[in-house]
């Protein structure tokens, strides 16, 4: 049993990291009042851009390549999310339709470019993050093998971003203003907060984090960009965002929960005790749990109240 846990937890952390960071991105956008179902697409361009960067740079950046690749992924996410922000904030477009367009565009343009560049539509990378054991910490009994052995540094970056996000959203003026724009933009506006600026910021941060998430997928466990990169991780992140009640630590819990479920589903064949559990239960688990949670939350609606509505100054 201990052996199975020791083999599952580090893997679960690996799968959780991108999921968590994408969901956290969604949190910024939705907290500012813009629904973002384009997370999958934003994740995809991040993945594509980071893979492309690694191939094109050809080792010119040496050891820094992997880190710059993460940055490139995040920037690609920002670039694509700009269109979502422009449509939703400046043009009062339907946010769900715009998000759908973002998703479709992302799959199409990345595969188009990949096919154009490589003819096979796959981009394989040779340089990526490798698993490391943290010195000293990995020697701690019990915790060491679970959390500090055979891990990627990116996992800790993601966890740090969760804590920073909590601080930013709940302990700073900026966070209060951002959340106000998602709850009651008129009140925020009357206090001199620029709803437009805040919502742009929220959407662009979501693009950066979702793009970073895609880059982490490529630079840690996937090591290849292809059509299969678009496997619903962005939608799973949306589920984690809702299940985590639109709160940073809630999202952390939800992502860990779903990430572990995903890992167990993928590894069920390896374990004697799980081999007979039909994979349908493990695979659909996050989605079914989200539906259950939505029904349970329905009385005290947990989501940002103004999310999904364009801000109309003349309406009260």
């Amino acid at each position: 049993m201990w052996d199975s846990i020791v083999s599952i937890i580090p893997l679960a952390l690996t799968y959780t990291a991108p999921l968590l960071i994408i969901a956290l991105g969604g949190l910024y956008s939705e907290r500012s009042g813009v629904v973002n179902i384009g997370l999958e697409g934003l994740m995809g361009v991040g993945a594509f851009a980071s893979a492309l960067f690694v191939v094109l740079s050809g080792g010119a950046f040496g050891g820094a390549t992997v880190w710059v690749a993460l940055l490139v992924g995040a920037l690609a996410g920002v670039a694509l999310s700009f269109f979502h922000a422009f449509a939703c904030v400046s043009l009062n477009a339907n946010q769900v339709i715009s998000g759908t367009a973002i998703n479709m565009f992302s799959v199409a343009i990345t595969i188009y470019l990949a096919r154009w560049l490589t003819t096979s539509s796959n981009i394989q990378i040779r340089t990526s993050f490798s698993r490391t054991s943290i010195p000293v910490l990995s020697e701690i009994p019990l915790l060491g093998p679970l959390f500090f052995s055979r891990v990627y540094y990116t996992t800790y970056i993601v966890l740090a971003l969760v804590i920073i996000s909590y601080y930013l959203l709940y302990k700073t003026k900026f966070g209060l203003r951002l959340r106000a724009c998602g709850e009651n933009p008129h009140a925020a506006d009357s206090m001199g907060v620029s709803v437009t600026k805040m919502r742009y910021t929220g959407v662009l941060i979501s693009g950066a984090l979702a793009g970073l998430g895609g880059a982490i997928v490529i630079m840690t466990y996937a090591k290849e960009f292809s059509q299969l990169t678009f496997n619903g991780l962005g939608f799973l992140a949306l589920a984690a965002l809702i299940f985590g009640k639109w709160k940073p630590f809630g999202v952390l819990g939800a992502a860990l929960f779903f990430g572990t479920a995903m890992t167990v589903a993928n590894m069920a064949q390896v374990f004697e005790s799980l081999r007979n559990v039909p994979n349908i239960f493990l695979n659909t688990f996050p989605y079914v749990m989200t539906l259950v949670a939505l029904v349970l939350f329905s009385n005290n609606s947990a989501g940002p109240k103004a999310a999904g509505e364009p801000y109309d100054v003349g309406k009260r």
């Binding site: 477009a93 479709m104 343009i109 619903g232 994979n279 539906l291 939505l294 029904v295």
Partner: protein, 355 residues
């Protein structure tokens, strides 16, 4: 007022034009000749008179028309059915399941498989309908979750009960459950265009009739316009939301039947059919009216039918078509932008007239 409605009618055409322009710009940047590529796209779709290729256009148009109707029908009731993909997949799974496991004469087998697809699609659509009506849970989130539940359900059941040569796909359906008929293929020179086309056109007429000619349709539209006013007028809003989602699901389920029983003949696991999302583009461009959907599904049908030929002839990656569709959706969402441009143009014209 009339200027406003004229503008609204122009928007789909401008969105399509902008889509093709952006596509051309992307081709120029990546070093292709857009005029050649577009002409090959039209040629591949049989628009220059190749009857077999034109049959393929109708073949691909069929499920698109149905997913487009599904999304459009939901929109008319104020519901965003982003789950047409999942409903289509589950409907198609039911149809393929019956198509493989049962042995019946065609006259019973085929209708049974099609009806199964409609019913399962409707049930898959009922879940978001009920959650919306009873618990006020947003249908967009529920339909997204239902999409992925559908993917994993098919992933589990196909290898278990109707496995084909590989774990990743089902066996081929029996010919008695196929929508293909020799006389249609003969007319279209061997294209697998099939009876699904008539099912889709029949569905479009039926939906038009429901929306425009029945009290039920009037109630649905009233709910879509203003839920509270409809409630005040004595319309059962919650019941109508559930019915609307079920009908949208049934249409998507039927799309699954036409796709899997008429086109692929089997079902693959682990993928969400993109046709459900394409249906959003079809519905938006068709302005959510059944007649508009017929025309817009033809547009997207021929673009999808011709893209393989275009790629083979010009090396332009076929994803170009998907890019154009995404751009069209984006501009259809950002109608304010187009209206602003139109107003600028017309204001300039008026100025010019004064001088």
């Amino acid at each position: 007022m009339s200027k406003e409605s004229n503008q609204n009618k122009l928007i789909p055409f401008l969105a399509v034009a902008l889509g093709f322009i952006v596509g051309a710009i992307i081709m120029i940047i990546s070093g292709f000749n857009p005029i050649l590529a577009y002409s090959k796209l039209f040629e591949g779709a049989g628009l220059y008179g190749n009857i077999r290729r034109f049959g393929d256009t109708l073949l691909i148009m069929t499920p698109l028309m149905l997913t487009g109707l599904s999304v459009a029908f939901g929109m008319r009731t104020g519901l965003f059915n982003i789950g047409a993909s999942g409903q289509m997949l589950m409907g198609g799974f039911a149809a393929v399941f019956i198509g493989i496991t049962m042995e019946l004469p065609k006259i019973i087998h085929l209708p049974l498989a099609v009806i199964a697809a409609i019913i399962v699609g409707a049930l898959w659509g009922m879940v978001p309908g009920v959650l919306k009506a009873k618990y006020n849970v947003h249908e967009v989130v529920v339909t997204i979750m239902m999409n992925w539940i559908a993917v994993w359900t098919v992933y589990y059941f196909v290898p278990l009960y109707i496995r084909g040569n590989f774990d990743t796909e089902s066996a081929t359906i029996r010919t008695t459950a196929s929508l293909r008929v020799p006389w249609m293929s003969n007319i279209f020179n061997g294209s697998p265009v099939n009876l699904g086309l008539f099912l889709a056109i029949g569905a479009a007429i039926f939906i038009w009739w429901v929306l425009e000619k029945t009290t039920f349709g009037y109630e649905l539209k009233a709910v879509g316009h203003n839920k509270h006013a409809a409630e005040y007028a004595g319309i059962h809003v919650n019941r109508n939301i559930i019915y609307s989602m079920m009908i949208a699901g049934a249409l998507a389920g039927l799309a699954g039947a036409t796709f899997y029983l008429g086109y692929t003949n089997n079902i693959k696991i682990g993928e969400l059919p993109s046709l459900g999302f394409d249906g959003i583009a079809v519905a938006l461009l068709g302005m959510n009216s059944p007649i508009g959907v017929v025309f817009s599904s033809f547009l997207f049908g021929f673009m999808n039918a011709g893209k393989g030929f275009m790629q083979a002839a010009t090396r332009v990656p076929n994803e170009l078509v998907q890019i154009i569709m995404a751009v069209i959706i984006f501009f259809a969402a950002a109608t304010v932008l187009i209206k602003r441009w139109l107003n600028q143009v017309s204001r300039k014209k008026v100025k010019g007239g004064d001088q």
